[in-house]
């Protein structure tokens, strides 16, 4: 059962009893004023294209609150346009690279490469990121958090010389010359502009919700995890406490329990998970904030569909989940910004090595749990697929 998430809102207490004790005249006057105000708001509303709110949109209750920017509500028209833009190589200088070149649905919107390659042929410094569930988790995008919204982010790869190398004014001319885009932009936003390109792509990305993995089905009570997966789940969800005889993998210290992403508040979802020693620390979040305390901190990615998104980490340094687990279990490198939660996490009391000290079965159990995060519905969902492919066009 997918419940529609509730929007954030402060509730007002004790208003009822206050109203009762108010003189009647005041109630009548203010009631009348409110009514008129409502009428005025409706009459005075600015006119734009007639759009329909996206109806098929739902997400599990356990994912929690999310925010859609007030100036870019999710509409069926915006999402449709965004999907086309996302898959259209027209958005690149040589008309051969689209967003989907580096974000393939079958790979949960990653590209399987350690370093993505775009128009220039020069490998990017970073590993492609999955685009599942971007509505939740840190609302700063890229490994180092340098984009502050999906709208802003979408315009960056288009213009990046190594990604799509597309001049923005030229792109707007290309789109204006295309009847289909004139119609789609007209219906969604009124006009073709850089801002509206960003809005449309962001809207499409917000619909990319992965919520039907084995783990989700377990959370909904539809199935049981097998013994190994359940053991892995417990390890994932526990910070080890040798004193309290609790074994754990401490993943939940950074990868939240349901989303498995970093935390949404401020930059809490950025941390240093021990990939490099002090001397070789890369800037990471420091590139954005300029703070030495942020050196080596990277975005904690969602682990949804992780079995499909190898290689791993911001530079694709690990090719398998086994290597990832070996990193957390003995491969941690010490630096001044290393998360104390990693530094301190150890399943063995009075042991000063930088390791979780998990045994082989525990590592395998964790990997088995990570495999329950694969969502076949998501990677085959027709709503997210390439609208240019013939097979899909039939369905539309």
């Amino acid at each position: 059962m997918a419940l529609l998430p509730q929007q954030t809102g402060q509730m007002i207490a004790s208003v009822d009893c206050e109203l009762m004790s108010m003189p009647k005249v005041a109630i009548i006057i203010s009631g009348f004023a409110v009514l008129l105000l409502a009428v005025a708001i409706i009459v005075l509303q600015p006119t734009g294209p007639q759009t329909r709110p996206l109806l098929s949109f739902s997400a599990p209750f356990v994912f929690g609150h999310f925010n859609i920017p007030a100036d870019n509500p999710l509409t069926a028209e915006g999402v449709k346009l965004g999907r086309r833009l996302f898959y259209d190589p027209l958005l690149s200088a040589n008309n051969r690279v689209s967003c989907a070149t580096c974000h393939l649905q079958q790979l949960a919107f990653t590209d399987g490469k350690a370093h993505s390659v775009g128009v220039s042929g020069i490998p990017l410094p970073f590993n492609s990121m999955s685009l599942a569930n971007t509505l939740w988790g840190p609302q700063h995008f890229f490994w180092n958090g340098r984009a502050q919204s999906l709208e802003e982010q979408a315009l960056m790869p288009i213009q990046d010389p190594n990604e799509m190398a597309q001049d923005m004014n030229e792109l707007i001319d290309k789109l204006r010359a295309d009847e289909v885009y004139v119609r789609l932009f007209g219906a969604a936003y009124g006009e073709i502009s850089a801002k509206n390109i960003g809005r449309a792509i962001a809207s499409f990305e917000r619909t990319l919700i992965s919520a039907n993995s084995k783990y989700d089905q377990f959370l909904r009570g539809e199935l049981k995890l097998n013994t190994q997966e359940e053991r892995g789940r417990k390890l994932f969800m526990a910070h080890p406490d040798a004193k309290a005889s609790l074994r754990g993998g401490n993943c939940i210290d950074c990868h939240s329990q349901f989303l498995t992403s970093g935390f949404n508040t401020q930059f809490d979802g950025f941390t240093n998970n021990g990939l490099e020693a002090e001397e070789t620390l890369e800037p990471g979040l420091e590139a954005l904030t300029g703070l030495a305390a942020d050196r080596g901190k990277f975005k904690v990615p969602s682990l949804r569909n992780i079995a499909l998104t190898a290689p791993y980490m911001h530079d694709g340094r690990f090719s398998s989940l086994e290597q990832v687990l070996d990193h957390y279990n003995g491969g941690i490198k010490l630096s001044s910004t290393l998360s104390p939660l990693i530094f301190e996490a150890n399943n063995q009391q009075n042991d000063s090595t930088l390791s979780l000290n998990l045994n082989k079965e525990e590592k395998q159990a964790l990997i088995a749990f990570l495999h329950t995060l694969t969502d076949n519905t998501f990677i085959n969902d027709k709503r997210f697929s390439d609208p240019f492919s013939k097979q899909v066009q039939h369905n539309e």
């Binding site: 009893c17 206050e18 108010m22 004023a33 005025a40 910070h239 004193k243 939940i252 104390p340």
Partner: protein
């Protein structure tokens, strides 16, 4: 033309209505609570080993400090005002080292006491409802089988040539601490903010002084957790500044 008249008419009516209420009735309004963090007699700074280990050697630094303040009540002469969904995640990693809660639409009364709990009540602690600042995918959540951390402190202890990570995650329903603050002067909605001091050092140096080298982390050990909870019961006090008089709690 028509539209303009409707708008003007609306505004006049609203003004008339509110003038009526202002003159003939005590208004509801907002009450502001402001929490100012410090570490003993020092200011709160992040990432620097400035503070002596209360129960032992070395100095400690603070990387993160967050705490749930909840279930806020104002005790009035006619009524109790209970804030609904009152779960506030206080953090101080901003320039002013201040956390502010604005309670809007508080009904008119003369309020003499403020009640604040540190932690999360048992019912909410075992629920997945994202109420107030409670977020099951947040930094303060343990797994749903365990509930929320009420208070999170992370940092490091520097001793001679060694650095020890400090991790204090304190939760469990038994560690909810209800506090009552008797205001030196009653307040009404719209009065000046009520100021509180948040002394981070109280966590390690109040009920008991803690040697961070012997107790560098607290998580699931119930005794350790309640030891720190006894201490954080002294975290908040009414500020003396802004003409407030010190009050015994």
């Amino acid at each position: 033309m028509n539209k303009v008249w409707i708008a003007i008419f609306t505004v006049i009516l609203i003004l008339a209505g509110s003038a009526y209420m202002a003159f003939y009735y005590h208004q509801s309004g907002s009450v502001i609570l402001e929490f100012h963090a410090r570490v003993g007699d020092k200011s709160l700074e992040f990432g620097q080993p400035l503070y002596p280990n209360p129960g032992g050697k070395g100095r400690f630094s603070i990387r993160a400090f967050q705490v749930y303040l909840s279930d806020i009540h104002l005790v009035g002469s006619k009524q109790d005002y209970q804030v609904s969904d009152s779960y506030h995640l206080a953090r101080f990693d901003n320039e002013t080292r201040r956390y502010r809660i604005e309670l809007s639409d508080v009904p008119y009364d003369e309020y003499s006491d403020v009640m604040i709990s540190i932690g999360v009540d048992e019912e909410a602690n075992s629920s997945l409802m994202p109420r107030g600042d409670l977020d099951p995918n947040g930094r303060m959540a343990w797994s749903w089988e365990v509930g929320y951390k009420f208070l999170l402190f992370e940092g490091g202890l520097e001793q001679e040539n060694s650095r020890l990570p400090l991790v204090y995650h304190v939760g469990f329903s038994e560690n909810l601490k209800k506090q009552r603050f008797n205001l030196p002067k009653t307040i009404t909605p719209g009065s000046a903010p009520i100021h509180f001091d948040v002394d981070v050092l109280a966590l390690f140096d109040s009920h008991q002084s803690i040697d961070m080298a012997t107790l560098p982390s607290v998580k699931f050990d119930r005794n350790d957790a309640s030891l720190l909870a006894e201490n954080y019961a002294n975290l908040l006090s009414l500020s003396v500044k802004e003409s407030h008089n010190p009050v015994e709690n």
